[in-house]
Structures are given as structure tokens and as C-alpha cells.
Symmetry: C2
Subunit: 213 residues, 2 copies
């Protein structure tokens, strides 16, 4: 049996390549699925804090860390958000245990004294260029959304990302008093059952998505 197990291991294409175990690779990527319907099990602030404590260490341009999270919990806030989602996403936002509006802070320069203490002039260099800040904030915050989705899975949560929304409407509804801009809305929780996911769609092979020079 020991020899058999070793023989099986030697057939694993990932043997010697993955630095994480197969269960984790499945949890974070290979078996993870976009979830459309959830159980009533609540998502705690502690779970979100644990996910944030992972994602916040991922790299961003100049350590600007512009991703911001609006945690939509109250029934009233859910209704306000649902009104700006595309029709197919409204019921999902109303029903999910937690919905997160992932946003970019276009005033991220106001945090640079904390984030980039070794460059005391960092804030002032960005203060006069709102257009540059918007571009930088969007770029790094979208990369951070990638970290966020993996991090939510790493705390055992399932995610249903939704791009179908009126982002400007969400900004006016929730972010008039600050300078956040909505990028993606994510439902979070535990899948209701097999019907919670669609049949899995194919992915590209590496040779169709990469080239070498």
C-alpha cells in the first residue's frame, strides 16, 4: 500500500510544483465556484476581519492599498443597493447573508502618511491630480479584489461576484460623503445546495492564454 500510494503521488501533475496542499488548492481555486444562492447562516464581522487580515498584505502600487469595503447588512441598505443592481442581481442582493460593495478610494492619498511613511511627500504629490488618483485607485483596488475573493474563500466563505450594476448610482447612493467608487458587488455566505452554482464553464489552456518571447 505504501508503494501504491507513492506510485499515485508520482502521477500527480502538481507533485513538487505546488507549495500548498491539494485541499487548499481546491478550496481557493480549483473546486471553488461562484455561488448564486446562500443559506441563512450569518457572515460574522470576525470572518470579514480574518479575510481582510489576509488580503491587506497583498502588494499594491506604492502600497497605496486603495480597496475599500462597504458591508451591506441592514434590510434598508440592501434595498438601497438592490435598486442600483441589474435586474437579475436584485433578488440575490436582498437574499444574501452579506453583500460587500468593493470600492476604490480615489482619495487614497489621505492615507499615505500611514501607508508610505518613508516618503513624507507622498500625499502632496497626489493631492492635485484627481484623474491620476482615479486611475491608480481603480487599478490597484481591482487587483486587491482578486486577493479579496481568494481571502474570503480562505476563511471558508463562498462568493458570488456581480458586475451587473449601475456603479455611478451606487456611488451617489452610498459614497457621496467620501470619495469611494464602486467596482464590484459580492454576495458572501454558504451555498444553499447543489442549485447554488451553475454548470462549470471551461477555461483556456495555458497555450491559449500565454506566449513566450
Amino acid at each position: 500500500m505504501t508503494i501504491d500510494a507513492q506510485a499515485l503521488d508520482s502521477l500527480d501533475i502538481d507533485a513538487g510544483t505546488l507549495a500548498i496542499d491539494d485541499t487548499t488548492a481546491d478550496l481557493l481555486f480549483r473546486a471553488a465556484r461562484t455561488v448564486n444562492t446562500f443559506t441563512d447562516e450569518p457572515v460574522s464581522d470576525e470572518q470579514i476581519r480574518a479575510a481582510y487580515d489576509l488580503l491587506r498584505w497583498g502588494p499594491t502600487a506604492m502600497n497605496t492599498s486603495p480597496l475599500r469595503l462597504l458591508l451591506v447588512r441592514s434590510p434598508e441598505a440592501r434595498e438601497r443597493l438592490a435598486a442600483h443592481m441589474s435586474e437579475g442581481n436584485r433578488a440575490r442582493v436582498l437574499a444574501a447573508p452579506l453583500t460587500i460593495v468593493a470600492a476604490a478610494d480615489t482619495d487614497f492619498h489621505e492615507r499615505l502618511a500611514t501607508l508610505v511613511p518613508h516618503q513624507p511627500d507622498a500625499r502632496d504629490r497626489f493631492a492635485g491630480d484627481a484623474e491620476k488618483r482615479l486611475g491608480m485607485a481603480r487599478t490597484s483596488a481591482l487587483i486587491q479584489i482578486g486577493y479579496l475573493i481568494v481571502a474570503l474563500r480562505a476563511v471558508g466563505l463562498h462568493v458570488g461576484p456581480m458586475g451587473g450594476m449601475d456603479a455611478a448610482g451606487i456611488d451617489a447612493e452610498f459614497f457621496a460623503a467620501n470619495h469611494w467608487t464602486a467596482l464590484l458587488v459580492l454576495n458572501v455566505g454558504q451555498p444553499s445546495g447543489p442549485e447554488a452554482v451553475r454548470p462549470r464553464a471551461p477555461r483556456l489552456e495555458l497555450d491559449d492564454a500565454a506566449a513566450t518571447v
Copy 2:
């Protein structure tokens, strides 16, 4: 000793919250660092394939999967790329064992027959709207760059992302014959030593990056 170990476990703030082990959480996020200088150890195609086989399963809008990877390996290609990097990044590109140009495919609709087989009209719906495709490709490919960075770490590689570049120059240099557009350049390999990383910069606390409604 057993009791001591249990007592230590009970002090772990992540106990019961993380669904991955502490070593993996450190590898992927908490202890991972942006690396500026690398050893000569090569990065194999097999390692990149293993990382891709993780990241490709991450969700994208409509499963469009627009991220593309240009693997820059030859000395000639390195020189061509370095010419379009900001001055501080040129030597890094010339010295890293592998440099990847992470790009968005603005012609992603040509792959939708493979990626979205349940919507036979998907390709044609995007064929006439290059501006919409550019926006969608950038958004999803940036999120996929988040997956990419985590996935490279999951195969034991270290990453040095660089935004300081002339993206239009890179597009003209490498992507004139297809419709990719450069988003980020990443050096990949093993850190040369303690000098490979800068002192770690702080991150925001959750309460500074999130709000609840």
C-alpha cells in the same frame, strides 16, 4: 507537552476562522513580500503552468477570462521590454530569472465560443464594441492579476510587481499583431537574500478600510 500545544493553539486569533493552515496563510499573504532581486534559479514552464492551473479557475465577468501572459525569457526580449520600463525597473527586468507582462486581451470575444458555450451569441454581442471590450478586459484581467500573484506564491515563487512602465510602448513593441494591452509587469523567482525586500510598510486596519450600513 500536548496540553501546552493545545493552550498555544487556543491563543491563535485565527483558530476557527481560517480554513487554511497558518503556514499557507503566511506563504500566500501574511509573510509574502515584494521581491526586488532574485537568485539565478530558473523559473520553469512547469511552474508557470501549475500557477496558471490555479488562477484560471478564479471568477471573471461572464467567464471572459481576459488575462494574458507574455513570458519574457530571451535576452533580446528582456532588452526590448526594459527599454519601456521606468528607469528604476530596467535593471530588475534584465536580471530576473523570469519576467511576465500581464496583459488584457481586448479581443477576448474571439474566445467566448470556448469560454461561454451556453451563450452562442456571446461573441457577436461584443464584436462591434471595442470600447466596452477594453473596459471589461481591463477590469477582469486586473482581478485575475490578483489571482496570479497568489497563485505564483502557491507554487513557491516570489513576485516583484512593477507598475512603472510605458504601457503603450510595451503594447507597440510586443502586441502589435494581437490585441493585448499591458497592465503590469512582474519579476518572478527566488529572493536573493535579506536585501531582496524593503522594510515592510504598514497596512490599514479594517476599520479604516471598511464601513457597515
